[in-house]
């Protein structure tokens, strides 16, 4: 149990630091690399929440696919030299984000959550499959998701195709 807490705090520190690096670094390529680190720490956070399947999927989709896509786009747009400076709205954006964080934390701490005392389900893969494909499950959204992906594939090809 104590090991879980140590792991959680390490993941929190690394995750927040890498998220800040994504936002604050001027070099867009280094920002993309710290985004990968942020995704990896989030996968670790899922492990501490005993969501093993989601942790694996997080590593596969975010760390594997989305990061490669983003780095490819950075390479193809040749904006690496210019970096990613802030625009004129930097200070208002900081104020808005801080106020939003304060409001969120205030609401979260003052809400009486009904915490269940049961231990979490583990492992989750079979239970998730039953939840997705079984009776009264999420089979209709699960069938719509491939349609969305198909539309995305076609739309991306149309958008990127040379005229």
């Amino acid at each position: 149990m104590i090991g879980l807490q140590i792991a959680f705090w390490i993941l929190v520190v690394v995750g927040i630091a890498s998220a800040l690096a994504v936002v604050l670094l001027r070099d867009i390529f280094r920002a993309a690399l710290s985004l990968i680190l942020c995704f990896l720490t989030v996968a670790g956070i899922y492990v501490t929440l005993s969501a093993d399947f989601l942790a694996a999927v997080q590593v596969l989709i975010y760390v594997g696919a989305i990061s490669v896509l983003i780095i490819l786009a950075i390479m193809m747009t040749r904006e690496v030299q210019q970096g990613s400076p802030s625009n004129k709205l930097r200070i208002p954006a900081f104020v808005v984000a801080t106020l939003f964080l304060g409001a969120l934390v205030f609401a979260m701490i003052n809400t009486p959550w009904q915490i269940a005392s049961m231990p979490p389900l583990e492992p989750t893969t079979a239970a998730l499959a039953i939840k997705l494909f079984g009776e009264n499950g999420f089979i209709l959204p699960l069938e719509i998701a491939p349609l969305l992906l198909l539309a995305v594939i076609l739309g991306t090809i149309v958008l990127v195709k040379e005229k």
């Binding site: 879980l4 807490q5 959680f8 927040i16 998220a19 994504v22 936002v23 867009i28 920002a31 985004l35 942020c38 899922y46 501490t48 929440l49 969501a51 989601l54 999927v57 989709i61 975010y62 696919a65 989305i66 896509l69 983003i70 786009a73 747009t77 904006e79 990613s84 400076p85 802030s86 625009n87 709205l89 208002p92 954006a93 808005v96 984000a97 939003f100 964080l101 969120l104 979260m108 701490i109 959550w113 915490i115 049961m118 231990p119 979490p120 389900l121 989750t124 239970a127 998730l128 939840k131 997705l132 999420f138 998701a145 969305l148 539309a151 995305v152 594939i153 739309g155 991306t156 990127v160």
Partner: protein
């Protein structure tokens, strides 16, 4: 409070990550940097979903199912967003969002 991990820890972590992403999405010039900030916001929401699922309905896994659909939507959004950025870069030679102002007044 430090001795026992609770729902509040995960919710506050997700709030911090969401605010960092919000700041990035509002304050960056580069369109790809804005897209990366939006990814951070989506991931923060996913952490909140999994934490709710773990602490409030530990046996139902509803939050984890939502996170799977968030991942599908995030992948779709990234692919289409980057394709739009490529199309803009091809026609205007820049992805600085302060210079893409055809529809601004």
């Amino acid at each position: 409070m430090i001795n026992n991990l609770g729902l509040d820890h995960y919710l506050i972590l997700s709030a911090i990550l969401f605010s960092i992403g919000l700041y990035g999405a509002l304050a960056k010039r580069n369109a790809i940097a804005i897209l990366m900030s939006i990814e951070i916001m989506l991931v923060a929401v996913s952490i909140a979903m999994v934490a709710f699922s773990r602490y409030i309905v530990p046996l139902l896994l509803t939050g984890q199912v939502f996170v799977i659909f968030i991942m599908v939507a995030a992948a779709a959004e990234t692919a289409v967003g980057l394709a739009i950025i490529m199309a803009i870069y091809r026609s205007r030679e820049t992805i600085d969002v302060t210079k893409i102002d055809l529809m601004k007044w």
